[in-house]
Amino acid sequence: MLVFVQVLVIAALAPLLQGAMKQLRARLQGRPGPNPIQPYRDLAKLWSKEALLPDGTSIVTLCAPGLAFGVALTFAAVLPLTAQAVPVIDVVALAFLLALGRFALSLAALDTRNAFTGMAASREMTFATLVEPTLLLALLGGAILGHGTALESLLGVAFGPASMLAFAAFFLVMLLETARIPLDNQETHYELTMMHEGLTLEYSGWQLALVGLGSYVRQLSFFVLAAMLLLPGGGMLVWIAVIIGLAVAIALVETLFAKLRLFEVPQVLTTAFILAATSVALRIFGAAA
């Protein structure tokens, strides 16, 4: 039962995080910015509107937003915040699950016959391949110490250099997964910058609402996981503080950095991989010593 509450709370707060970050970034850039509750208004409005789909698209395109939304909800459900109801989805399965959502949206993007969405699908799948090894290595800290691969294993890891490196790697990966500058850009879906946003260019109405809420839920879930990686023994209040800290940090990053050229993104991801691999090596030889 608790797990339903967990999903509901995460889904209810996820748009607020998005709105708050947008407001904060606007303030940092000297603009008044939208009200933090604007994402709720947007979602409500989109939900009430009809959906348009390109001529001749298949059922894949119709279903992909719901599938991606379901993936995001599952992600929120498996976070080890409350007593676990779905412990069978471990770190490895989580990585595959996120890939399933991406797979569906990318297929839909190629189905729309639009060159922009096709380009976004290509980039999305390309960078996802570079993200996956890093994501797994960063999240396997507990497993290396022999706590198994369940997500709770993350909580049994002590804070130290290895966990900080794993967090740093995860943070870089998270910037891409939540479509943040300097790796991606949420504000636009046109050629030079787009990845995540371009993917869903052809969606509208209630389908876009599903896509939007899904990506907000995914974002908050990533934040929670990052907080757990940084301070495994923290507990709820500490994690909330870390999440707020992360939101501020990302707003700062988005203000201070410019969007990287597309082919510089792999360098950032390689850096993240090296950080994760170093953390793994530290854990192995630390445990051996």
Binding site: E50, A51, L52, L53, P54, D55, G56, S58, T61, L62, C63, G66, L67, F69, G70, V71, T74, V86, V88, I89, V92, A93, A95, F96, L97, A99, L100, F103, S106, L107, L110, D111, R113, N114, G118, A121, S122, M125, T126, A128, T129, L130, E132, P133, L136, L137, L140, A143, I144, G146, T149, E202, L210, L262, F263, F273, V280, A281, I284, A288
Partner: protein
């Protein structure tokens, strides 16, 4: 027509035999089927079955049955008859229990499959591919024969059970020599990098039903051979063997999928994915060997189950995809992704089944590829506990490699399905006919159902495989109880979400509008192509793929307004380039031997007599 029916009947009969033998062995354990004695004891033929052969026999039965059904209406009659013999030869390898029987069946398998590869021998590239295949097959079998006889001579018998019983008493250097030889022999048959060179040439030129058998089953026969030697005939394996197998598997998985992602010939791309999946199976096998060497039999059991499970799964989805590619080739006349598009509207039966195959091979829940890849990850992580730090690093490198492989495979099958089946047809002349449901769709459907069943209810396969693994490693594998619910849980909400979309669309309606193309007309040419889709990956992995770009402008009114642009990209691949240089060196040396071959009968008779005299002189 009658010949074709005979061929299908023959293939089905072999499939039935394989199924019965698999069921019997699964229930009864070791079975001896009989012996053909020979005046020379080393050449006697023993037949029998051990539990290790069960998953392979089951796979042979399932794939042969599906291939037979597919061939009812599509295949050229001669092909399906040959496929029957091919299946029979593979059955022979599984029931062989002495060195001579194994080698005989193995050679029969290689030769029949070479005929299948050469089916369209009027084409030059087919003849070259067949020749390459035969060279690799024959070089491989030399290694296999040498290894098996080394072990047999040391054990004092050519019968597999006796050799298995004696294996532990043999000195390690001798067993290691045999291991190195079988790695070359079975590795080249299975397509492990860098011995994979023949595979992407031979598999695509064979007819689709033969490709399904080659990729789906024959590669697994090589895996069977490898398992047979490292787990039984030359057991116990030292730690180093496990590490070597693991590294080879990881390299094969990554290199195979990287090649696939930039290839746009559907059948060749699938062949590269066979290299990848053989790599994944080999990773799991390597983990099993490492765990056995570290004395962790329970983990070895999990790894062995993962290897056998992925063996079966890959056979199923690869047969599905190759048979689907055959239907595409029949209806569209091409398997070039750049010319395909919008097949979803016309191949109304093939497309959904093919999609299941794509999701399964990409290792995504809730299909069988996910179940076995997840188990492979679990075994890699479980093996961490029992080993020295250096091996731990190798295991984690394999985790990273396997994760990269999974990501690339997903990217590749987004490309395949998105470009070929979704979107709009790229050829204006292609007919707007909907395909009727026929036997070949039934075959695809059957394989798709199996891929789904083994994904949603993995215990169907895992429970019997766990018993087999327990018989081999001696301990029941641990950590399996969580598996039966996992893929279902992982995919329950996403699929509920997909259904929600269907329900909402039914209730609220979805308005169809033209694709937004910034005001320009909507044409098929505006769609993203396979080459464009793979471009970022080609750029990022340029150091491995060595892409080349050729551009030719036909000048129009000026250089800046060309009338036509030709654009071609090709990848040369680091590994293939190295192999090519190596082969060039060998060819230079073999030229010296050319002088021996004059084609004159008298000269050959002289050789024979000289050899005879030499042998007699040495023996006395």
């Amino acid at each position: 027509m009658r010949l074709r029916l005979c061929g299908v009947g023959f293939t089905w009969a072999v499939a039935l035999c394989a199924a019965i033998l698999a069921a019997l062995t699964a229930v009864r354990g070791d079975i001896a089927l009989g012996t053909l004695a020979s005046p020379i004891d080393a050449l006697r033929l023993d037949f029998g079955l051990s539990p290790l052969a069960v998953p392979f026999l089951a796979l042979l039965a399932l794939v042969s049955f599906a291939v037979g059904a597919w061939s009812l209406q599509r295949a050229r009659p001669a092909d399906i008859v040959l496929i029957g013999f091919f299946a029979l030869a593979m059955l022979g390898v599984f029931v062989a229990r002495s060195v001579a029987a194994f080698v005989l069946a193995w050679e029969a398998m290689s030769l029949v499959s070479a005929f299948l590869v050469a089916a369209h021998h009027e084409r030059r590239d087919v003849r070259r591919a067949t020749l390459t295949y035969l060279i690799f097959a024959q070089a491989g079998v030399v290694c296999i024969v040498a290894a098996l006889f080394i072990l047999a001579i040391a054990a004092g018998s050519t019968s597999f059970p006796v050799m298995t019983a004696h294996a532990g008493t043999l000195p390690v250097p001798l067993r290691s020599a045999a291991f190195a030889l079988v790695l070359l022999g079975f590795g080249s048959k299975a397509g492990l990098v860098p011995l994979h060179v023949w595979l992407p040439r031979a598999h695509p030129v064979a007819p689709a039903n033969a490709s399904a058998m080659l990729s789906g089953v024959m590669l697994k026969v090589a895996i069977y051979g490898l398992c047979l030697v490292v787990l039984q005939l030359a057991a116990p394996a030292p730690l180093a063997w496990g590490v070597i197998v693991l590294v080879l598997g990881t390299v094969s998985a990554v290199v195979g999928v990287l090649y696939a992602v930039v290839d746009h010939n559907l059948k060749r791309l699938l062949a590269y994915h066979s290299v990848e999946n053989i790599g994944i199976i080999t990773i799991a096998l390597g983990v099993a060997l490492i765990a056995l060497a570290s004395g962790d039999a329970a983990v070895a059991g999990v790894a062995l189950v993962a290897a056998l499970f992925h063996t079966v799964n890959h056979g199923l989805f690869k047969a599905l995809l190759f048979l689907g590619a055959g239907i595409v080739a029949d209806t569209e006349g091409t398997v070039d992704l750049e010319r395909l598009g919008g097949l979803w509207e016309r191949l109304v039966w093939t497309a959904p089944f093919f999609l299941i195959g794509c999701v399964a091979i990409a290792g995504l829940p809730p299909f069988n590829g996910f179940a076995s890849e997840w188990m492979t990850f679990q075994s890699l992580i479980a093996a961490l506990a029992g080993t020295v730090p250096a091996v731990k690093l190798v295991l984690l490198a394999a985790v990273a490699g396997l994760a990269l492989t999974g990501g690339l495979a997903a990217a590749c099958f987004v490309k395949v399905f998105g470009v070929a089946f979704l979107g709009r047809s790229r050829r204006p002349e292609s007919r707007a006919l909907r395909e009727p449901f026929d036997a070949s769709n039934f075959a695809l459907g059957l394989l798709a159902v199996l891929c789904t069943a083994f994904g949603v209810l993995p215990m169907l396969a895992v429970a019997p495989l766990a018993r087999i693994a327990a018989a081999i490693v001696g301990v029941a594998p641990l950590g399996l109880p969580t598996l039966p619910v996992l893929p279902v849980t992982a995919a329950a909400l996403p699929f509920a979400g997909a259904l929600l979309c269907v329900a909402l669309a039914a209730r609220r309606g979805v308005r169809r509008v033209p694709t937004w193309t910034c005001g320009s007309p909507v044409t098929a040419r505006a769609q993203y192509t396979a080459t464009a889709f793979a471009k970022p990956l080609r750029t990022i992995f340029a150091f491995l793929l060595l892409p080349e770009r050729r551009r030719a402008l036909e000048a129009g009114i000026s250089r800046w307004f060309p009338s036509r642009i030709r654009y071609r990209t090709e990848s040369r691949y680091v590994v293939d380039e190295a192999a090519r240089r190596f082969v060039a060196i060998i060819l230079r040396w073999t030229r010296l031997a050319r002088g021996l071959q004059s084609g004159s009968l008298r000269l050959y008779l002289t050789y024979a007599i000289a050899t005879f005299i030499l042998v007699v002189a040495v023996v006395h």
